[in-house]
Amino acid sequence: MADDSTIEGRGPVTTLATPIRLDFDFTPGIAQSVFLRGLARGRFMGQRCPKCGKVYVPSRGSCPTDGVPTTEDVELANVGTVTTYCVVNVPFAGQSIEIPYICAQVLLDGANLSFMGLIQEIPTDEIRMGMRVEAVWVDEADLTPSLASVKYFRPSGEPDADYESYKEYL
């Protein structure tokens, strides 16, 4: 039997590597760059609509209701309210977190838009709507302009928020 070091020893070709690769130069735009730079400082940055006064985080640079640019940057609190959540029990390809885990929509104090966050440091059967949570950040040296700077949210210990305070954000 010929060894693998000679062409004849390699056996017939049965497969062909055909990688498809796309190289992007990605820009998140000016408004989301404000948000991302905030993450690199360990802060949540949003933007306020000059017409309706709503604060979007992350901001896309304009108010979807009024169609006007959101030019005023607003720093938001590190705490917020779970408006709704999902306990993930199903494994899937590329999963990076050990199941079961909680994926929740978090409405930061001062914001009028919730965003998705991982909830940790709580048994999955204790998560509930209205739970108050706080962001846990990576070590200061590891902060980057990316959502990876937020490790997760955990219960803040405050009493649950009143349903009326977040019912518009479900």
Binding site: D23, F24, I30
Partner: protein, 151 residues
């Protein structure tokens, strides 16, 4: 001000596909790795290069493998003055349909002709393989075709 400038980052999207090539294309690629060009006999005795499992006109199974080349004729060509980063050569070249000696169909590959005045339809070209140690069983095992007599 810097706070209101857009960030940029490189972002790579890549799918590492690996295809099964089957017995006929597999034989063709194995041939390339060994420095040979292979076609297959189709219905009516025509020789198809690169080989296919089925005759493109009748759909019948193709037959025996046939060695072709290493020379051939340029059937048509297009000059690339400014190659893109992932194209086969980093200097100007021609894409060409090349009908190899013994074949009835043409193969699409590169002609390393130097300048567009040095290639014409009907010209004879010959294959230039990569060094044996670099060949893996791929179309890129053929580095290029070159004008006959220049190799």
């Amino acid at each position: 001000m810097a706070e209101h400038e857009a960030l940029h980052a490189s972002h790579v999207l890549e799918y590492p596909y690996s295809r099964s090539v089957g017995p006929v294309i597999g034989a063709f690629l194995t041939g390339l790795r060994e420095g040979r060009l292979t076609g297959v006999r189709g219905a009516g005795g025509s020789v198809i290069v690169p080989p296919t499992e089925y005759d493109p006109t009748t759909g019948e199974d193709t037959g025996e493998l046939v060695e072709v080349g290493p020379g051939g004729v340029v059937e048509t060509w297009a000059w690339v003055e400014q190659p893109l980063p992932k194209q086969p050569l980093d200097h100007p070249f021609a894409w060409a349909l090349i009908r190899l000696d013994g074949a009835d169909t043409a193969l699409l590959h590169v002609v390393d002709a130097g300048d567009p005045g040095s290639i014409a339809t009907g010209d004879r070209v010959t294959v230039r393989f990569r060094p044996e140690a670099d060949r893996v069983g791929s179309m890129a095992d053929i580095e290029a075709f070159v004008p006959e007599g220049s190799a």
